[in-house]
C-alpha cells in the first residue's frame, strides 16, 4: 500500500470522520485478522486498556513522590534502589522493570526524554502524553531544554543546572520534584494530590495552589 500522496492531505479531517478514518479501519482490520486466527483474545485487549485507564497512571508516581517527601528512609531507599522501593508500594512491571529516581534540588533541575523512541516509566506514570512522543519534544529536550520548559510555562533561574536524562536503555526515570514550601505537616495523601505528571517528567514543578494556602 502506498502512502505517498500527489495532492495535499488534510490530516485534521481525520478527527471528524470516525467511520472512514483510515487508521481506525486499519486497526480494526488487524484486530479482526488476529482474532479470527486465534492469535489474540479481544477480552485481553479490553483488560490491557482497563489497566491503563483505571490502575496504572500518574497517581502511582505521585504516591511514590509523596512518600519520599514524608519518609526520609523511603527517600533514601528510592535513591539507592528505586525499583525495589517503588515495588514496595505495589508498582512494578512493564516499562518500569528497571527504575531510577532523580531528585530535584535547589541547584539542579532534572528533565527526562527519550530521543530515540518514547521510553517512559509506565508503571508509575501510565501511558505517555502525545507531546512526549512527538518530534518537537524529543528533538529539543537535549539541546534547548530551557526553551522547551518555557513552553510549559516553567522558567528556571539562570544558575540552575539543567540535567537531561535521555532514556536510551531500559532504565526508566522518575523525577522527584522539590516539596513546595508551606506544606509542613501535610499528610502523604494531601501532598500526593499536588504532584502533577509533568513534575515527575521534569516539565513542571510542584506549587501549592492558592486555594490551599
Amino acid at each position: 500500500m502506498s502512502h505517498d500522496h500527489d495532492h495535499p492531505h488534510h490530516h485534521a479531517d481525520h478527527h471528524h470522520d470516525n467511520e472512514l478514518d483510515p487508521m481506525a479501519a486499519r486497526v480494526r482490520a488487524l484486530e479482526t485478522i488476529l482474532t479470527e486466527k486465534g492469535l489474540i483474545e479481544p477480552a485481553a485487549l479490553d483488560a490491557i486498556i482497563d489497566t491503563y485507564e483505571t490502575k496504572v497512571g500518574p497517581r502511582n508516581g505521585a504516591h511514590v513522590v509523596a512518600r519520599a517527601w514524608t519518609d526520609p528512609q523511603f527517600a533514601e531507599w528510592l535513591g539507592q534502589d528505586a525499583t525495589a522501593a517503588i515495588a514496595s508500594l505495589g508498582y512494578s512491571g512493564r516499562q518500569g522493570e528497571h527504575m531510577q529516581a532523580v531528585f530535584n534540588t535547589a541547584d539542579t533541575h532534572n528533565l527526562v526524554v527519550c530521543t530515540l523512541c518514547s521510553c517512559y516509566p509506565w508503571s508509575v506514570l501510565g501511558l505517555p502524553p502525545v507531546w512526549y512522543k512527538s518530534p518537537p519534544y524529543r528533538s529539543r529536550a537535549v539541546i534547548d531544554p530551557r526553551g522547551v520548559l518555557a513552553e510549559f510555562g516553567l522558567v528556571l533561574p539562570g544558575t540552575t543546572t539543567v540535567r537531561v536524562w535521555d532514556s536510551t536503555a531500559e532504565l526508566r526515570y522518575l523525577v522527584v520534584p522539590m516539596r513546595p514550601d508551606g506544606t509542613k505537616g501535610w499528610s502523604e495523601q494531601k501532598l500526593s494530590a499536588l504532584v502533577s505528571r509533568d513534575s515527575m517528567i521534569g516539565t513542571g514543578v510542584v506549587d501549592v495552589p492558592e486555594a490551599l494556602t
Partner: protein
C-alpha cells in the same frame, strides 16, 4: 541506523504542544492499537528491540507524518508478516485468509494483570567485571551501523564521564537482529552541553545517556 527516529538535536519541528487535561487517547482506535500491540508482542515471536527497529525502519516521510500509535501499527503489521502470522492477503481483505504460524503463547484476559505487573526485565548475569567505574573519563564511539543501535547520533564521538554503573542488560544492537541477548554492562554517561553542542550551548546543561559498554572507550 541513522533513521528518522534519532531526533536529538534536530530542528524545525516547531514548539512543543502540551495539552491541558489531555485525554488518554485522541481517537478510540488508539486504545485498540496500544492493546493489540501489547497482545501481539506477548506471543513471544519478537523482542522489544526488534519491534523498536521495525518502527525506526519506516521511511522517514512516513515516520514524520505518522502519530506514535500509527507508527506502532505500521511496524506491527511488518512484524506480523515477517514472522508468518499475517499475510498480504489477510491485510488486503481485513480478514484471516491464510494460515498463521504457531505462537509461543496467546495472552489471555485473566493473565493480563500478572503479565503487565511482571514486565520483561532485561538485566542478565555476566561473568565479566564492569570495564568502567564512576568518574571514569570515556569517549563514545563514532559508528554508523545500518542495523539497530541505542547510541544516538548527537552523542557519538563525544567525551563524557561515567556517572553510574547500572546492570548488565540485553544488548539491543545484537538482539534486534536475532543475534542473541549478548548482555553487556550499561553505564550512565554524562556530557556537558558544550561537548555536545559546541559554542553557544547552554552552560548550565548536562545531558546523560545510558550506554552499553561496547559504545564506550577510555578517554
Amino acid at each position: 541506523m541513522n533513521g528518522p527516529h534519532d531526533l536529538g538535536g534536530q530542528m524545525g519541528f516547531g514548539p512543543v504542544a502540551p495539552e491541558t487535561d489531555e485525554p488518554l487517547y485522541h481517537a478510540a482506535w488508539e486504545a485498540r492499537a496500544m492493546a493489540v500491540t501489547i497482545a501481539a508482542g506477548a506471543m513471544g515471536a519478537w523482542t522489544i528491540d526488534e519491534s523498536r527497529h521495525a518502527r525506526e525502519s519506516l521511511r522517514p516521510a512516513d515516520y514524520y507524518s505518522s502519530s506514535y500509535y500509527e507508527i506502532w501499527i505500521k511496524a506491527l503489521e511488518r512484524l506480523l508478516v515477517r514472522h508468518g502470522f499475517v499475510s498480504a492477503e489477510d491485510l488486503a481483505s481485513g480478514h484471516a485468509e491464510t494460515p498463521a504460524a504457531k505462537p509461543k503463547r496467546i495472552l489471555q484476559a485473566d493473565t493480563v494483570a500478572a503479565v503487565l505487573a511482571r514486565g520483561a526485565p532485561c538485566d542478565r548475569q555476566v561473568a565479566a567485571e564492569p570495564r568502567f567505574g564512576p568518574g571514569d573519563a570515556v569517549r563514545t564511539k563514532n559508528f554508523h551501523p545500518e542495523g539497530h543501535t541505542r547510541l544516538p547520533r548527537y552523542a557519538r564521538g563525544k567525551a563524557g564521564t561515567v556517572e553510574a554503573v547500572r546492570e548488565a542488560y540485553v544488548f539491543p544492537d545484537s538482539n534486534a537482529h536475532g543475534g542473541g541477548e549478548a548482555p553487556q554492562w550499561v553505564y550512565t554517561v554524562v556530557f556537558s552541553g558544550g561537548e555536545l553542542w559546541g559554542d553557544g550551548a547552554d552552560p548550565t546543561l548536562r545531558v546523560s545517556i545510558d550506554a552499553w559498554e561496547s559504545y564506550l572507550e577510555p578517554a
